[in-house]
């Protein structure tokens, strides 16, 4: 089965037919043939567009036949219709680039080529240099076609054509456009040399290499000398030689794959003699300056060029590239140095070079290979550029580096930036305080320290390099599952986002009477735990709001305050429980439940800081009221002391009436005028005793400060203190807890109420004078 292209061959293309059959004999599958045809077909496709009317009709007919044949053989859909695929790639529109007007020129040149007799390279050599002057714009075109650097001139063009025929068929969708340029030359010259096809019969396998992969170029020198005058080498010979003919810029860092490919392309380039070479050089120079679109890849095919010339041109290239920025890069312009902007062009240009041996591959494989080669090539080119251009630049550091470390800068600047870019992308977040809390905090602290230092030193403010990560707006991604068109019903495709439902998990509640009571208890505890968690989240939110408040503008601040307030109210409600009626007192039950849990106590400590005085007093009252019970519960955890600080802060703010009430509650003498039986247990607890002392201390302060002491007017206080003093005397010293701190004015307080003797006793007992135990 012959591919679509092959059928078109008639007349001058007969040799190709022969080759086709020969290949079949070799055992190539029809697939390969098709691939072969693909290349030819693509090349010839443009025939349809070029003004050659003779075969147009016939060709189209043939096309149809061939397509039919293919369908018969391979079935519908098995064979990619590359023609359709490449339809869009074709540059129908006028090239917006006014500089080159390549299409017009292309046509004129193509006419030129047709006219001239290109049968014999010897004849080509004799052609005067008129055509070359029109060739330069073709250089741009040749970016896409790769080898076709000089349209209509000489052998390099000649020899590249077969390749190009192959290459053009394997255009990826990566290439946005493929200018319709003198493909007629290809048609004419397609019979010059057989295409560089591998003898590998297996689709997708790498091309047969006469040299094993990894062999450095040096080993091939013997072959080079053997074939100085090969015009149309057979495929086998193509691969092997010519490595050494590379000029200086191509350092040993190019992979052997690339070298082989280059050898391929430049093989025919070597045929011309010095005269042509000299023609080429000024051209190159001229074009480099003009178009600025030459890439180092073109140099590959100019083997006659001496290194120095090349480097000069490369310097030009660098400069010419400066002005070009590639659209895909715009988003990260600050990241990419201008020199790298033209890189993408390199990819495209070099893409075609290295495709020589990939035409027989499966399209997918080919694409992967190409991409890999692109990366390699770009790296190598860049390295090559860096190597040579770097030397030319007067950056001493680079030069020194290169001297000391020959393997240095293997990773190019561009690659480093690329990796950095990825890392930066990973740092983008919608809420940095959520995603990267520790980093943010650490740097804030650092900056504060630095600011403090700066203030002290008052010297010039040092500019610290700081990583600025942008805040990306949070995008809501609603996942829409994949839907197939034209399918009957809804096909379910399970993926990470919507996994397939494997189990039908149903919640069943056990209604067992025996378990009810335990369950209730469990549930209640669970409820409490939930409440604690919810309140904790509220605390965190309030903290965030406070931070936000500082950062947000003046206008938004009230809103933030409002949010904060509402959250605090919620917190309080959570803690104390909701009030059924406004007048009715809330039962302490809920609160006590929370306080029985370790986390609840810590939570209360945190919340106390945020509450208003009244609310806080309420909480502390409740605590005091239930303290004996809590003390009992806390015996294992011993977390109550965490409440000391907020409680003492609060107490110090309390007015006398509230203070009295608090003392009353604490001593348990709310109902009776005598301290409750539980009071001694409070004294035995660290927190209890400390709280007690704090209250007394505050009382003393109030007493001594106010002129007409409110406190003294209220009998309750005096009575309480008397009662308390009695209790203190009663309690044995050993059982007294060690308070967290002893306020200094307690002695003064007691001195108001007791006589000297008792005072001394109290002093020694409670260690009021501050002597260490």
């Amino acid at each position: 089965m012959l591919g679509p292209g092959s059928a078109r061959r008639r007349g001058p293309w007969r040799p190709r037919d022969e080759l086709a059959s020969a290949t079949q004999e070799l055992g190539a599958t029809s697939r390969e043939m098709f691939a072969l045809g693909e290349g030819g077909g693509a090349a010839l496709r443009s025939l349809d567009e070029s003004p050659i009317e003779e075969d147009e009709e016939a060709l189209r007919e043939e096309d149809h036949d061939i397509d039919q044949f293919n369908e018969d053989t391979f079935g519908t859909g098995a064979v990619e219709d590359w023609e359709e695929q490449h339809e869009g790639l074709d540059d129908h529109a006028e090239d917006p680039d006014d500089l080159l007007k390549e299409n017009n020129l292309a046509e004129s040149i193509s006419k030129l080529v047709i006219d001239s007799d290109l049968e014999d390279p010897a004849i080509m050599r004799a052609i005067p240099s008129n055509p070359p002057l029109q060739a330069p714009p073709r250089l741009n075109a040749s970016m896409w076609d790769g080898p076709m650097v000089f349209g209509g001139i000489g052998n390099p063009f000649l020899s590249h054509l077969e390749e190009n025929r192959m290459l053009s068929g394997s255009k990826d969708s990566i290439l946005p456009k493929r200018p319709a340029l003198g493909q007629d030359e290809e048609r004419d010259l397609s019979d010059r040399a057989p295409p560089p096809r591998s003898t590998s019969p297996v689709i997708g396998s790498p091309p047969v290499r006469t040299a094993p992969i990894g062999t450095p170029p040096k080993h091939m020198s013997y072959l080079a000398s053997q074939q100085p005058s090969i015009l149309c080498p057979t495929p086998v010979h193509v691969r092997a030689p010519i490595h050494q003919r590379f000029s200086a810029p191509f350092n040993e860092r190019m992979s052997p794959t690339q070298l082989l490919n280059l050898a391929n392309s430049s093989l025919r380039a070597h045929h011309f003699q010095g005269g042509v070479t000299q023609m080429l050089n000024p051209l190159l120079l001229g074009t480099a300056q003009q178009t600025g679109r030459m890439s180092p890849s073109h140099f590959a095919r100019m083997p006659g060029l001496v290194g120095s010339q090349l480097t000069a041109m490369k310097a030009n290239l660098l400069q010419s590239r400066m002005g070009q920025m590639m659209p895909p890069v715009t988003g990260f312009r600050p990241y990419f140095s201008p020199a790298t902007a033209g890189h993408l062009q390199d990819i495209r240009s070099s893409q075609s070079i290295f495709r020589a041996d990939t035409t027989h591959l499966h399209p997918q494989h080919r694409r992967l290979l190409n991409q890999r080669l692109q990366l390699q090539n770009s790296r190598n080119q860049h390295r090559g550029l860096n190597g040579s251009a770097g030397d030319r630049h007067s950056r001493g550091s680079y030069h020194e580096q290169a001297k000391k470390d020959p393997y240095g800068n293997l990773m190019t600047q561009r690659e480093k930036e690329w990796v950095s870019k990825i890392q930066m992308m990973q740092l983008q977040s919608a809420d940095p305080y959520l995603d990267d809390y520790y980093y943010q905090n650490y740097f804030e602290r650092l900056e504060k320290k630095q600011a403090a230092l700066d203030l002290n030193s008052e010297g010039p403010k040092k500019e610290r390099t700081k990583l600025i990560t942008p805040q990306v707006a949070k995008l809501e991604h609603t996942y829409r599952p994949v839907q197939f068109e034209g399918s009957l019903g809804k096909l379910t495709v399970s993926s990470v986002n919507n996994p397939r439902k494997m189990i039908d998990a149903v919640v069943t509640t056990r209604t067992d009477d025996d378990e009810t009571k335990e369950k209730l208890v469990r549930d209640k505890r669970r409820q409490t735990l939930f409440t604690i968690e919810r309140t904790y989240s509220l605390v965190l939110e309030v903290q965030d709001l406070e931070k936000k408040f500082l950062q947000v503008s003046e206008a938004e601040r009230p809103a933030v305050l409002e949010q904060r307030k509402s959250k605090i109210i919620q917190m309080y409600e959570n803690l104390r429980g909701k009030q059924a009626h406004s007048t009715e007192r809330v039962s302490d039950d809920h609160f006590v439940q929370i306080m029985c849990i370790r986390k609840g106590k810590r939570l209360a400590a945190k919340v106390l800081h945020l509450l208003s005085t009244e609310q806080a007093a309420n909480v502390v009252l409740a605590t005091a009221r239930n303290l004996p019970y809590l003390v009992k519960k806390d015996s294992q955890d011993e977390v109550l002391p965490c409440l000391t600080e907020p409680c003492s802060l609060l107490v110090n703010r309390l007015p006398s009436s509230a203070l009295t009430e608090l003392l009353q509650q604490l001593t348990g003498s709310a109902q009776s005028s005598q301290p409750g039986s539980q009071f001694p247990s409070i004294l035995q607890n660290k927190f209890g005793l400390t709280l007690f002392y704090v209250i007394l201390s505050q009382g003393e302060r109030l007493q001594s400060s106010e002129a007409a002491s409110e406190l003294m007017q209220d009998n309750r206080w005096t009575e309480l203190v008397f009662a308390v003093t009695r209790e203190l005397l009663k309690v044995p010293q050993a059982s007294l807890a060690k308070p967290l701190f002893v306020p200094t004015n307690l002695l003064a307080l007691f001195s108001h109420y007791v006589d000297r003797q008792t005072l001394n006793v109290l002093e020694s007992k409670l260690q009021l004078s501050g002597k260490p135990r």
Binding site: G331, F332, R333, P334, Y335, S337, R395, S397, Y398, Q401, D405, Y407, G408, N409, L410, M411, Q413, E415, K416, V419, S420, K421, I422, Q423, M424, M425, Q426, L427, Q428, Y439, F443, E463, R464, T465, K466, L467, I468, T469, P470, Q471, V472, A473, L475
Partner: protein, 150 residues
């Protein structure tokens, strides 16, 4: 790309002293320097860091595998290493001036390999004895073969 593109304050364009990602941990600044890398399987590699990528895959050049046994160590030259990022436990730059400033004694490869073999053997023996003792007492500790253990 939603949002503004990232910018890096303090970046000087083009020069050799580019401040890559200040304030963060990035391997870019470590390129072309001699590093010591510890892998998950316990190997210690010393080589020049030539290339990294976003996964912290490393390309080490002129790599030497250093085996430590007791107070002795031996170097096995390995050439070029490409390490998959997930296998790296830690890595650190080697101060070339202080590189030789170790109390450890360098020995030949054969010697260190022999020492390592002996050490492994001893460890296995101890392990065996331990499991025997536990078995006698009716206890068994499940072997954690899949964890990174060396």
């Amino acid at each position: 790309m939603p949002g503004s593109h990232p910018s890096c304050a303090g970046v000087t364009s083009g020069g050799a002293k580019m401040n890559y990602m200040p304030g963060t941990a990035s391997l870019i600044g470590d390129i072309d320097k001699k590093h010591l890398v510890v892998l998950r399987d316990g190997r210690t590699l010393i080589g020049y860091l030539r290339s990294v990528d976003q996964f912290a895959n490393l390309v080490l050049h002129r790599t030497v595998e250093r085996i430590h046994v007791g107070r002795k160590y031996g170097d096995i030259p390995r050439g070029i290493f490409v390490v998959r990022g997930e296998n790296v436990v830690l890595l650190g730059e080697i101060d070339l001036e202080r590189e030789t400033d170790t109390p450890l004694q360098k020995v030949s490869i054969e010697e260190i390999l022999e020492a390592q073999r002996v050490q492994q053997h001893e460890k296995q023996e101890a392990e065996k004895a331990k499991s025997e003792a536990l078995k006698e007492r009716g206890l068994s500790i499940p072997r954690t073969d899949t964890l990174d253990e060396y």
